[in-house]
Symmetry: C2
Subunit: 433 residues, 2 copies
């Protein structure tokens, strides 16, 4: 592991540099597949499923029968665990429901803001080694609470043409309206354009590899919104002497096992903690089945010693981590001072795993420094704020003159006329429509 | 004007089709200028200012002296009008401040959401014939309320190297921290990468021509967020017999004068209104100084007659207008039923001009059908929601088992271990860090 002591602020950006990726050749692939899906619909989708997922399907749609059958394949223990997670996620996201905001800005000028659901949303759930049913919960539960009418889900089939039963269980539990056996670029293309079997959606959510990421980004050029750009997952832990080294090590390893490119950083004001955490990491690493993956990420990770909480906080804000764990005697300083982070975990008994699964917070979070400007997925991600205004005759007479002056100064005389006609009608009261 | 009577739903999408634009050649220009600004900083910016704006500047920054001088050039009337607008915009956006949302999802598991400001934001204000000081208000006021630390503004200089005084007045009034004489692609590039004189920002806001639009979209691939994608401005009016034809005509013309590509649509359930509005449009059109522009937009516009409020609402939701005016005896039906629109204006005395300038609502709104998935600019556009969680020993014992089961089912054993270590420590209470 890379250990860095008291780095000077001017070196932070190079120490904290994330791997940059270039996407030019992926982009060409993405555009090609999008074009084909747009032109040929399901035929193109099925072709790419055969090519990339190694299975020839006749139909993309998961049938009710398949869903029913799969429910028997999920253990009762797992069902109960998922239900507890669902309950907490539901509570936290229901608490985010906001009421109409209404204000009379000037007498007779009533303005309000209301949030209304995005009618059609698409959720993408990656396939591969780990069946991410937890991400189904994190996306479908707030979509349902928001009131989205159509909540479709795409996930790649395995080589037998099947979807992991836990994904199907979570999807039906959380109110997904249709499930498709489609993965990768072709899934994002299908949700962007619509096909014979897949409805076009207005916003696409969910994680994925770099092909999916580039496909989502391309979709935004074609009129579809996305949750956020994605990069490799990240964890930064701040620990002082109040931290338990074995706990900290286990949290860093949780992040490291996600992928070889996972970003893992420890910032500490304690030499002792730095050394103990490092020892614990290598001790625990041996026990992990995903050791090979975690080891590569750990070898690229950084342990940083800094002389003060202030320096630590400044560095953390510059990095802007996706996940941020605070184990400190001075925790309020970090809680109040953190400007950029996706989700924050406080204290020795708050592992990142809790937020990944069951505490209630969302685990779809901004990576790659995007916490500087993006929120993690939350209830509002499935809603859009609309504004309304209703102005009385009194109201327009109160603000009309100002509008006329401003419109004229901007050279927009029809804007002025629209107000002028209304003011004149009031003055003369003779106007006949 | 195109008049269409009782179109069948299957024809709506072609009737309502917006002009599509292809951007391939613009993209090449954008990428070239971005690369040069990234490599050469201010030198490249000044070069493109000279090339596109026709003025050789020594320095991009508007000095305090220039700001002071400009204040004398704005009439008292206009200053007062701007201050009234500011007061209303401030009231409406301050009302949008939301408090921390905190909930104990399970005993000992406390989760909360807080919104914190995006630290550095960039506002783009187009130049050209109309000095859009109103857009300065719409962007800088919520940025200031949100608590953004740096609020920089870029706008192109005129051929004398000057910025319109009203823009400078509005910017200093609303708390913009730095103003730059930079326009177009080079402005977006400068805010994306930073230069010697321009700070890199985390999110870019504001309207612009297609070059600016493509540049903003490209910026999102380079780690910067943007407010929303942009297209030509739009207005859809629904009017029944309760509407005043001259008012409706003046609103449609307000939209039409924005640009030749402005989208203007009337939907009505009244033959009489359709005819009267058309007559009024041609009557009022003659009086407009921007007649040539408005006429082209009006000739491309559509007047649609539909037999019922239900059909009208369905069509309006399919179109998803940026601005939507409701003049109807049955206004609640439309207010409650509108699913997709940026800003909604209700009644005969609520012209779009009011929202453009002074009612208090924001005028930076989703065009091009994006109101299906995007909010208009609002206070939250300058904030990001962050989640926090703090779990007690009791809390982790309540949810720990569920996390372990789910982590194991996803094949993430380090995630399980992070919880397991904490549960074990509690059980044995012998663990030594």
């Amino acid at each position: 592991m890379n250990k860095i002591y008291n780095p000077q602020p001017e070196t932070w950006s190079s120490i904290l540099k994330r791997p940059t990726q270039t996407f030019d050749d992926i982009e060409t692939t993405v555009k090609g597949i999008f074009k084909e899906v747009q032109q040929k619909g399901d035929q193109a989708v099925l072709k790419y499923t055969s090519l990339f997922d190694g299975i020839v399907l006749e139909n993309n749609i998961v049938t009710n029968e398949e869903i029913e059958n799969s429910l028997n394949l999920v253990s009762e223990d797992l069902k109960e665990a998922i239900k507890l997670a669902k309950s907490n996620i539901e509570k936290f996201h229901t608490a985010q429901i906001s009421s109409k905001i209404e204000i009379e800005t000037t007498e007779g000028v009533i303005c309000w803001q209301e949030k209304r659901p995005i009618q059609k949303v698409g959720l993408y759930i990656p396939g591969g080694s780990a069946p991410l049913f937890s991400t189904v919960l994190m996306l479908a539960i707030p979509a349902k609470i928001a009131g989205c009418k159509e909540i479709i889900l795409c996930t790649p089939p395995d080589k037998q043409g099947k979807i992991n039963p836990a994904i199907l269980f979570a999807a039906q539990l959380c109110g997904v309206t249709k499930i498709y056996k489609i993965g990768g670029i072709q899934a994002i293309a299908a949700m962007t354009f619509g096909t014979e079997s897949v409805d076009k959606v207005y916003k696409i959510f969910g994680p994925g590899n770099q092909f999916v990421t580039i496909a989502k980004q391309y979709a935004t050029q074609l009129g579809v919104a996305i949750d956020m750009p994605a990069g490799p997952s990240e964890l930064l832990v701040f620990a002082d002497d109040s931290a338990v080294p074995s706990f900290v090590a286990s949290d860093l390893l949780s992040q490291a096992e996600h992928g070889k490119d996972s970003q893992v950083i420890l910032v500490t004001t304690s030499q002792n903690i730095l050394n103990e955490v490092e020892k614990e990491i290598y001790k625990q690493l041996k026990k992990l089945p995903r050791k090979e993956i975690a080891e590569i990420a750990i070898n690229n990770s950084v342990l940083i010693f800094l002389g003060s909480d202030k320096n630590a906080l400044d560095l953390i804000n510059e990095y802007s981590p996706e996940h941020f764990i605070i184990c400190s005697n001075n925790e309020d300083y970090f809680i109040n001072g953190i400007e950029n982070a996706g989700s924050i975990f406080i204290g020795n008994y708050t592992p990142e795993s809790a937020g990944d699964y069951a505490s209630g917070t969302n685990h779809t979070l901004p990576t790659n420094g995007y916490s500087k400007s993006y929120s993690g997925v939350n209830l509002d991600s499935f809603l859009k704020a609309m504004t309304f205004q209703k102005i009385t005759e009194k109201g327009i007479s109160n603000i009309g003159k100002s509008i006329e002056i401003m419109a004229e100064a901007e050279g927009l005389l029809a804007h002025k006329m629209a107000v002028n006609l209304r003011l004149n009608k009031q003055k003369t009261n003779k106007y006949q429509p």
